[in-house]
């Protein structure tokens, strides 16, 4: 029963563990995106030098702006050519299709303030000489929402599986308790306190929970290794650089402690129930 329970608990911990791992990596990606938020202000081709100069002053006066960098039409084209992406098409085009732009770096204090960023983008859009403003708002909002959903689903599944783990351990401990009822009666008769009799069962529950957590962590590590081996562990996707990581040691330890705590809790519940029978 003990082996069966531990295996069942390990397996049931893998799914929320995997979800947590996915969430952890996604959150890391979002954090790195947030840290690099830039507003790209694209200028109209007909914008005059005076328009550009006035726009520069307006942007610099904004409280959330850390710095700005101007890229002229020629430089934009040059940079695109340097990237080596389909220069053939570019050569066939008449004139320079690239707009001049301001790259506006946002102060860290307001990087997570979606409302401010949206209002700033709207204000700049309405400024004379501005063609459009991009800052990946939709993408960031989508990621934030996605993270929230994953967090909620993870919490619900975690709660459900937490209850499952507690129930499985409680059942195991209860069976072990009944199997050793004769022994416990002897202990009681020769002067053992309740704590002395019960402590081994609490420890057993904690140990089972810890072992199950450790096993599920090992399996997750294996799955992670497979994913990392078959799909690059780091790289760039849609212009966003990413770096996958397994749980850091602190989170692994936390998961082990969590598993042990659930196990001990399962034992405690089991012992309380036995008491009330």
């Amino acid at each position: 029963m003990t082996v069966v329970s531990t295996t069942a608990i390990s397996i049931s911990l893998i799914f929320p563990g995997f979800l947590f791992l996915f969430y952890d990596n996604l959150e890391m990606l979002v954090q790195s995106l947030r840290g690099n938020i830039q507003l790209m202000v694209y200028l109209e081709d007909r914008a005059t030098d005076a328009d550009v100069s006035s726009l520069r002053e307006k942007i610099q006066a904004e409280r959330g702006v850390a710095e700005i960098a101007f890229t002229g039409k020629e430089k934009a084209q040059e940079e695109f050519r340097r990237m080596g992406i389909d220069n053939v098409i570019l050569d066939q085009l008449e004139g320079n299709p690239f707009p001049a732009s301001f790259a506006v770096t946002i102060r860290p204090q307001v990087q997570e303030d979606e409302r401010y960023l949206s209002e700033l983008a709207d204000r700049l859009r309405k400024t004379k000489g501005v063609e459009d403003v991009h800052y990946g708002a939709e993408w960031l909002s989508f990621l934030n929402l996605f993270l929230k959903k994953i967090r909620a689903i993870g919490a619900a599944i975690g709660l459900l599986l937490g209850v499952t783990v507690i129930t499985l351990i409680a059942l195991t401990i209860r069976l072990n308790y009944y199997a050793r009822q004769g022994e416990m009666e002897i202990l009681r008769l020769i002067g053992a306190s309740r704590a002395f009799i019960r402590l081994p069962y609490l420890l057993e529950g904690g140990f089972l929970g810890g072992i199950a957590s450790a096993a599920s962590l090992l399996i997750l590590k294996g799955i992670y290794g497979y994913i990392e081996g078959h799909f690059a562990g780091s790289g760039s996707w849609m212009g966003i650089s990413y770096q996958l990581r397994f749980f850091p040691a602190s989170i692994s330890v936390l998961l082990l402690v969590g598993g042990s705590t659930l196990g001990a809790l399962g034992s405690l519940i089991s012992l309380v129930l036995v008491d009330h029978e």
Binding site: E183, E185, I186, L187, L189, I190, G191, A192, S193, F196
Partner: protein, 222 residues
Amino acid sequence: MIQLFHVTKYYEVNRPALQDINLQIEKGEFLYITGGSGAGKSTLLKLIYCDERADEGQILIGGRNVARLRPSHVPYLRRNIGVIFQDFKLIPRKRVYENVALAMKIAAVPPREIKKRVGEVLEQVGLVQKRDAYPLQLSGGEQQRVCIARAVVNRPSIVLADEPTGNLDLELSLEVFNMLRDINTGGTTMLIATHNREVLKRMPRRMVALQQGKIVSDGWTA
């Protein structure tokens, strides 16, 4: 040392297992409690080590009424009373040494002292050679000696024995009683529930006879 005043215990309404028991047992005394099946011998011992609670009366041990002892204090009382059971009550998956040492572990005795004292007691009951055996590898007499060793290892002031020779032949029974007498010689108060007439004859001591839950005689064995 042990005083019982008007002690009554019911398992069934209107059918007391023990009724109005009054008894005084002096420190270091060796006392037999006799009577047929259902006379109340085991119940009397159980009341003393608080495995059962008296419905009426007082049971004083060293001046303290154990009949009203709080459940959380019962283990402390039991650590000062050694109990020898007819069915030995040894833990089968533990070795002889571990079974005896368990009583000391429960009393939170330091490991070094446990090692020393368990060795002494196993020597006393003649089981040093069997210290690593499991109970089921021992004869009935040997198992009872392990039980005796466990009962006395904490040097209790009182030892209760409930039909300690119920499962043994006469020769082994006398061996066990001699062992109990030796322990009593060291000053331990000994209460032995038995109906082994042969032993009573060969080792005369004070005897309290019970019948249907009442004391019918209290005096020396003939």
